[in-house]
């Protein structure tokens, strides 16, 4: 027994020895294991610590965006920018839940999609399928919350126009793939979509504050006179910069469809109209410039004149001899056409051509129209174009021409880009030809001075009286033109009422044009729809608001030039 017992004890002692030795092996393994944890913890938590960035996915995807450059107004206010809008796709390989389950959850998040539609996309062939593009942030959040790795969101961006409809016709729009459709978006696409220039905003000549005022007044007068449409333009006559341009009805560029029908076209650049009496400014300037008449000359406007079978009357007949200032102020058709007859077809055509009325303008959009010109220039055409009929141009053509009449005679092409941008660094500067020598002199300084005074006179004593604004010297000319009916002839009920004005007329800075498409006469205007009753007060209201904003100082009532030329009997409505 004893030896066995001893042996047993011996084995036991040996076994416990072995166990203890082997514990050391296990201990070493654990020490190694815990040491590796410490090493990894320090390498991650201390040496790779970032402390600020939370997610790789959130930070790394930012640079991959293909940003389209912003568009800003002349003061740097953003008119078009980009918003990250993720698109949702299904990746079937990564899908955990069943297609039915996911389709149910996704259709709950996207109210515009039915369960069946989502399911159909998920069951379609191919691994990767788009479900919905341009999610809202809330939708993205809810989709992420579903938490299925098969629902893949990819960053893309949506063009956003924070001012909505306000400058729609200038900016244009882009489609769902950011391909531009209209406006400066289309015209400057190459530059805007250039990844190297994505940080440089495109600076327009537009002042969004003026744009807002113009839009508001146009809307309110359009409603007041139940007009079908309205359009307006504010132009800097010294530089040709378009400060505001509006056309109603307009469209929302954020809505990816763009303008829906012809009525939403840009009336200022695309619409061509027989703008009427505004053209008398050109005829009289041409007569003075060509020394056909001087201010004291005049024509007999006692009786209507028959030209080429048409009887031409005055809208405000004085039935007497009128001098040149009277012809302009009272907007006499008879007097103007008699002057045109003295000027002659060739000189008239040459003058219109110099004013750029025979071709498309240079303005930076693609959707613009050229004029509708008479097929041949006979005596009738000479007579009608003299007072703005038988020739249809865009409002911009008229505005550019009128600007040249008052700014010292230089024809400066209108532009949508800001000039003199030196104070804004990092802003694209495309054209810099603001030197006066680069522009063609269409009339002399002296004639331009006379034209200012004539325009002033038309507001003070003539048809533009309703455009008067206390404190500002305004020059302007009404234009009421009957619309051409399809198939020929003129409508007596459908008119285009427009008013073109310049202020301050003693030192012209801004040109304001506004027109109403088919205004209806109302009680307040004695059922009249003439420009003097509708468009002139509208322009007055616009000037009253933009003048102080643009820092135009008020002037005490100045001596009105040529008032002495107006016969006393002329002081009537």
């Amino acid at each position: 027994m004893k030896p066995i017992d001893l042996r047993m004890e011996g084995t036991r002692q040996g076994a416990i020895e072995t166990a203890r030795n082997r514990i050391i092996v296990v201990m070493a393994l654990f020490t190694l294991g815990f040491f590796s944890l410490v090493v990894k913890l320090i390498s991650v938590g201390v040496f790779q610590a970032n402390g600020t960035t939370y997610y790789q996915t959130a930070s790394s995807s930012q640079s991959a965006l293909m940003a389209r450059a912003d568009i800003v107004d002349r003061n740097g206010v953003i008119l078009a920018t980009n918003l990250k809008t993720p698109s949702l796709a299904i990746s079937k390989v990564d899908m955990r839940a069943s297609a039915e389950e996911l389709a149910q959850e996704v259709s709950e998040v996207l109210p515009e999609m039915e369960y069946e539609d989502v399911l159909a996309i998920m069951n379609a062939k191919g691994n990767h399928r788009w479900i919905k593009r341009k999610l809202t942030p809330k939708q993205e959040y809810d989709i992420r919350k579903i938490g299925d790795p098969g629902l893949v969101t990819s960053d893309s961006e949506k063009r956003i126009y924070p001012h909505g409809r306000l400058a729609a016709h200038i900016l244009g729009a882009v489609d769902i793939d950011n391909n531009p459709k209209l406006g400066v978006e289309a015209y400057f696409d190459e530059q805007l979509s250039d990844p190297a220039k994505s940080e440089e905003p495109l600076m327009l000549s537009i002042d969004i504050r003026l744009q807002h005022i113009l839009n508001q007044e146009l809307t309110s007068y359009m409603d007041k006179f139940l007009a079908k449409g309205a359009a307006g333009l504010v132009l800097d006559v010294r530089t040709g910069e378009v400060l505001a341009l509006s056309s109603l009805p307009d469209f929302d560029p954020n809505d990816l469809n763009g303008p829906k029908n012809l009525s939403e076209m840009n009336k200022v650049l695309q619409g061509v109209y027989e703008l009427g009496s505004g053209f008398k400014t050109f005829t009289i300037a041409s007569g003075l410039e060509n020394k056909v008449v001087d201010l004291s000359d005049g024509y007999d406007a006692t009786k209507p004149v028959v030209v080429g079978g048409f009887t031409i009357r005055d809208d405000h007949p004085k039935e007497r001899w009128l001098n040149i200032p009277e012809i302009f102020a009272y907007s006499s058709n008879i007097g103007t056409l008699k002057l045109a007859q003295d000027i002659g077809v060739e000189r008239q055509k040459e003058f219109f051509d110099k004013l750029g009325l025979f071709g498309k303008s240079d303005i930076e959009v693609y959707e613009k129209s050229g004029p509708l010109l008479p097929r041949q220039w006979g005596p009738t055409e000479l007579a009608t174009t003299a007072y703005g009929h038988g020739i249809a141009v865009t409002p911009l053509h008229l505005a550019t021409g009128i600007a040249a009449m008052v700014n010292g005679g230089r024809l400066i092409p209108a532009t949508l880009l800001r000039k003199n941008v030196s104070e804004f660094t990092g802003v694209t500067r495309i054209s810099s030809d603001d030197e006066s020598s680069a522009h063609s002199q269409v009339i002399s300084q002296e004639t331009s001075g006379i034209m200012r005074n004539l325009l002033h006179l038309a507001v003070e004593v003539g048809t533009g009286k309703n455009a008067k604004v206390d404190g500002y010297l305004i020059g302007g000319k009404t234009g009421t033109a009957e619309k051409v009916i399809k198939g020929g002839g003129y409508s007596h009920k459908a008119v285009i009422s427009s008013f073109i004005s310049v202020f301050p007329i003693n030192d012209p800075k801004y040109l304001v044009f506004a027109m109403l498409d088919e205004p209806q006469g109302i009680k307040e205007t004695f059922n009249l729809r003439t420009a003097g009753m509708t468009a002139a007060p509208m322009v007055g209201d616009i000037i009253r608001r933009i003048g102080p904003l643009m820092g135009v100082s008020t002037t005490k009532k100045d001596e009105i030039e040529y008032e002495d030329l107006i016969l006393v009997s002329g002081h009537e409505r």
Partner: protein, 382 residues
């Protein structure tokens, strides 16, 4: 407790003067850190799945009270009682495990839980300490009595346990049980040849698991060949440590817990890393290392084979579980659901670990230095 006198012979006083107080303190520290972290991490998870904010916190406190009670009760037992308790528990757990297969509640594609009231019981958790005790008993018995077929019994029971766990399926627990059993076998004096063969077999088993179980293949592939987005939890978890840096974002300031599905249990270490920083994480690793390594060092002086095998087995289970959890959080190992002992939220797991720790406390009480009722006149073995 401080008023206990060494001559006081009450059970409590005896317990206090014989128990390993360093171990006790380490566990208390872990539990404290655990409460703070569950407080921080679990409201985000609870709110996300539509429970009241402090749902997990409240339950965790209930579990903690139960666990501490169980640990204390078990640590009061004598070594023989611990052995008996372990064996009985082992038999009960085997039966429950069988029952789970038949009548268990299914969650996330596995049958692991038995519903008892509002609590669910995971039998496999309690099986682990019980099986360790059983194995230690079998091996030590066959040392004491060579005719006793302890090794054979142990091999057979190991086969049964693995079969039951695999059929749940619960690969994580299977690996843990296999590792602990293998090391116990190793310490019991397995010939080196068989040690090598066993390691080879373990690798073969892992390869089989990789090629036959699709979710294992996916996780391992994701770990070795990370694809962007495919490794969601691991990416988040590593980012948490990066965000945290040395001192952390501050308590409650973490964001990863809002996205990690198991922020309150399996990934609580990442939450600690983000909110409290690398310093606290180092402290947590250190506490686990101290408990395990110090436990082993103490065993080097131990004479009783059963105690060596049982305590070593329990320490290995505890240490391996902690290591796997920490390693997964730090992306050293592929993602595998395993709780962090005493820190993670988790009912059965915590209770089971407490029972295991109670057994360690009981088995390491210094009876050799002090016998109840005996005036301590001599040092060492009287």
């Amino acid at each position: 407790m401080g008023t206990f006198s060494r001559t006081d012979n009450s059970i409590l006083s005896t317990w206090w003067w014989t128990v390993d107080r360093w171990l006790l303190m380490s566990i208390a520290l872990l539990i404290t850190i655990g409460i703070v972290l569950v407080f921080g991490a679990s409201p985000a998870v609870a709110e996300r799945i539509g429970l009241s904010s402090f749902h997990f916190v409240e339950r965790q406190i209930v579990f903690l009270i139960l666990s501490v009670g169980a640990m204390f009760a078990v640590s009061l037992m004598s070594p023989v009682m611990v052995r008996r308790f372990g064996v009985i528990l082992f038999v009960v757990c085997l039966l429950l495990l069988g029952a789970t297969l038949v009548a268990g509640a299914e969650a996330k594609g596995a049958r692991r839980w038995i519903q008892i009231g509002s609590f669910t019981l995971q039998a496999s958790e309690f099986l682990k300490p019980a099986f360790i005790i059983f194995t230690a008993w079998m091996f030590s018995e066959s040392q004491r009595n060579p005719k006793f077929p302890g090794w054979k019994i142990s091999f057979v029971t190991f086969g049964i346990v693995v079969a039951l766990l695999i059929s749940q399926p619960d690969l994580g627990q299977t690996i843990l049980v296999a590792v602990v059993w293998g090391i116990q076998l190793f310490m019991a004096g397995l010939a080196w040849f068989w040690v090598g063969a066993l390691i080879a077999l373990a690798f073969f088993g892992l390869l089989v698991a990789y090629f036959t179980l699709p979710h294992v293949e996916k996780r391992v592939d994701n770990f070795f060949f990370p694809s962007p987005g495919g490794n969601y939890q691991v990416d988040l978890s590593l980012n948490a440590f990066k965000n945290g840096g040395i001192l952390g974002q501050g308590p409650g300031e973490g964001v990863v817990k809002k996205y990690l599905p198991d922020a309150h249990s399996d990934y609580i270490f990442a939450v600690a890393g983000e909110e409290f920083g690398a310093v606290i994480c180092l402290l947590i690793i250190l506490i686990f290392a101290v408990i395990v390594i110090r436990g082993f060092v103490n065993l080097l002086k131990e004479q009783d084979m059963f105690t060596v095998l049982a305590v070593a087995g329990l320490l290995i289970q505890f240490g391996t579980q902690a290591f796997i959890n920490l390693a997964v959080n730090l992306s050293i190992l592929p993602s595998k659901g395993m709780t962090l002992p005493f820190i993670s939220y988790g009912g059965s797991s915590m209770l089971s670990l407490a029972v295991g720790m109670g057994m360690i406390l009981s088995l390491t009480r210094r009876y050799s230095h002090y016998q109840p009722g005996q005036t301590a006149l001599t040092w060492g073995r009287g």
